[in-house]
């Protein structure tokens, strides 16, 4: 049984199939689902704010006392300023960028790791399946928030935004992996897989040729969920002060706003901005994933996050 596509051409073919399938799904969903379009627009706005707009910031928004403190929103400071003399708008754009980086890194690493592991376990079965699932289960049972706190404390000296994403990944792959495995197991029961086993495809071939197209929509939904999970995990860490407090992320913004009692002092713009942004990111990703899952009707979607 081969574990890899037999030739490079095969691999390219599989990749091509995957990409084509992906863009088909995308176009189809975009055409049929209004929720998807709305979500995509909001998300695009976030990306633009985070990636493009943030680079036009007239100054490093992380620096303190560059603008007058405690100003409410005004034409000069569209989202007001903080007690530390930071412009909330520019700070927010940077925060969006960093939070999205964390989210995307986690999504890329964790959900693909989970996907591949789950497919392998499901497709190979037997001993490999057992071992992989025991590994997965072990990670499921470890209490994640406390361990994340410990890791964040441990790696504080070397902590960077991408590293934060990687750390959060550690607890983001087991669930998807279990789900994927379950889906592969149920797909395995279907007849066409048997056909492809008899026609001589290896494990990887089966995975790409037969399972992936069915799992792909689910996987896209899981990607968006993982982004959310990562962003909110970082926020949870930040709220108790173990994120990268000198960087700008949505969680860190909330941390400083809470630290300066923005809620009780009427500096609502400081706290509300990152909170609304998180909500908007969530709503947009929710709509996107809803669009995709309405299209493909995967049953396991919401179980992706335990």
């Amino acid at each position: 049984m081969t574990l890899i596509p037999r030739t490079g051409v095969d691999a390219l073919k599989f990749l091509g199939i995957g990409l084509a399938r992906f863009s088909n799904i995308f176009l189809e969903v975009f055409r049929t689902s209004r929720a998807f379009r709305v979500g995509l627009v909001i998300f695009a706005v976030m990306i633009v704010l985070g990636v493009a707009v943030s680079s036009f910031s007239p100054f490093d928004p992380r620096r303190w006392y560059l603008v007058p403190p405690n100003r409410p929103p005004s034409p000069e400071f569209p989202l007001g300023t903080t007690t530390n003399g930071q412009d909330v708008f520019w700070l927010l754009t940077w925060s969006i960028k960093n939070s999205l980086i964390i989210g995307l890194i986690t999504a890329m690493v964790a959900s693909h790791f989970g996907l591949i592991l789950g497919m392998l376990a499901g497709a190979r079965g037997g001993l490999a399946d057992r071992i992989l699932m025991i590994m997965t289960d072990s990670f499921v049972v470890i209490p994640s928030l406390p361990t994340l706190i410990l890791l964040a404390v441990l790696l504080r000296d070397v902590m960077t935004i991408p590293l934060m994403g990687l750390i959060i990944s550690i607890f983001s792959w087991p669930w998807p992996s279990r789900q994927v495995r379950a889906m592969v197991l149920s797909l395995r029961e279907r007849e066409f897989i048997a056909t492809s086993i008899f026609s001589g495809y290896g494990v990887m071939g089966r995975v790409f040729r037969d399972y992936l197209p069915f799992i792909l929509p689910w996987h896209l939904v899981n990607l968006t969920n993982t982004v959310l999970f990562a962003i909110s995990s970082e926020a949870a860490l930040a709220v108790i002060g173990v994120s990268i407090l000198s960087e700008a992320t949505l969680g860190v913004m909330i941390y400083w706003a809470l630290n300066y009692s923005a809620l009780f002092r009427g500096l609502w713009w400081w706290l509300i901005s990152p909170v609304i942004t998180i909500i908007l990111i969530f709503v947009s990703l929710f709509l996107i994933s809803k669009g995709i899952s309405d299209y493909s009707n995967p049953r396991l979607r919401w179980q992706a996050r335990g």
Partner: protein, 335 residues
């Protein structure tokens, strides 16, 4: 029958392996921390400016290393952990030396169990009922409104929701206390005691129930329902002209209950690591708070103890679910 036995045996083996790996990971991580509790304590003594004999400090340091069991090499320490676990002696707490970890967990556990069992069950039930009904009538107005609320509520950082609740219901409308577990003097079981406990648990519970019921459980059951609803057997039940009630009960709820029960089992198993943020915000004396204190004070023994409890809790829940699942879900067979 032997198939069943093999099934049970393999699950139990998996369970044991899971626990072993979990414990090992939890053992390794805090020990990688470049900090140690002895030096933390010495530093603490310096930093509060307590008067100490300068020569006494060094002897204090040496003694503490021995007492905290940090002298041996990692292998010895690791074996020590297993010896302790098997004898159920979790060692002394470092931050609350020399009280045994087991004692402290024993003090905190009932609070967490009480608060979380209650609120997890309530939010699960509530969320599933509302979510299923909304999912079933997902074209209705109330359903869209609820979904909107859930989508907005779910990502609100937990801490903020708790603070807003506290501000509103303990300050603006002071019907609940600001925090704590109990404010009644004297011991003995009475109605007052129960009411007092309930009053203190109310806000933390609400902070768990609202995002849980209206956020997470709602969204999951809503989504499951809307998906199941489009499946052939549900559509056909409607086409057969079965009343909505029958479709909802016999076709939808029954099919949704299974994945949701799995999730509930895991959520209940997870109770043993406590609700960290809730308990911190409301000064609620449960395991989550204890764990938080242990983490910021580098109390290895305590971290081990609580994590172990949590690992056991979740693994046991998984094991039980695995074993019981075929009984609940006719479509799953022992494999």
């Amino acid at each position: 029958m032997s198939k069943l036995l093999i099934f049970i045996a393999s699950r139990i083996v998996a369970f044991v392996l899971t626990v072993v790996i979990g414990v090992t990971v939890v053992f390794i991580i805090p020990r990688l921390l470049p900090y140690n509790p002895v030096e933390a304590q010495i530093g603490f003594i310096y930093s509060i400016g307590q008067f100490y004999d300068p020569t006494a400090i060094e002897s204090l340091r040496q003694t503490l290393y021995e007492l905290y069991g940090l002298k041996g090499n990692p292998v010895e320490q690791y074996l020590g952990v297993w010896r302790r676990l098997l004898t159920l002696d979790l060692g002394p707490s470092i931050m609350s030396f020399p009280t045994p970890v087991a004692t402290l967990i024993g003090i905190a556990l009932p609070w967490t169990l009480g608060l979380l069992t209650f609120s997890v069950l309530i939010s699960w039930t509530l969320g599933n009922v509302i979510g299923t009904i909304s999912g079933f009538f997902n074209h209705k107005k109330f359903s869209k409104l609820l979904t909107g609320v859930a989508v907005v509520l779910y990502p609100v950082p937990y801490f903020i929701l708790a603070l807003v609740l506290m501000f509103t219901f303990a300050f603006l409308i002071p019907i609940f206390p600001l925090g704590g577990g109990i404010t009644i003097v004297g011991v003995g079981f009475s109605l007052d005691l129960v009411l007092n406990l309930a009053k203190h648990a109310a806000l933390p519970a609400i902070s768990i129930i609202i995002p849980g019921a209206l956020g997470w459980w709602f969204l999951s059951s809503f989504t499951l329902t809307s998906q199941k609803k489009t499946e052939d057997f549900v559509r056909y039940a409607e086409l057969k002209g079965l009343p909505n009630g029958v479709v909802l009960r016999r076709y939808l709820i029954r099919n949704i209950l299974m994945p949701q029960t799995t999730a509930l089992g895991l959520a209940l198993g997870g109770i043993f690591s406590g609700a960290l943020l809730t308990e911190v915000v409301y000064a609620y004396p449960g395991l989550g708070r204890l764990l938080y204190q242990a983490i910021i004070n580098n109390d290895y023994n305590m971290i081990m103890g609580i994590s172990l409890l949590s690992i056991l809790g979740v693994s046991l829940a998984t094991l039980l679910l695995d074993l019981l699942y075929p009984l609940i879900d006719p479509t799953v067979r022992y494999r």
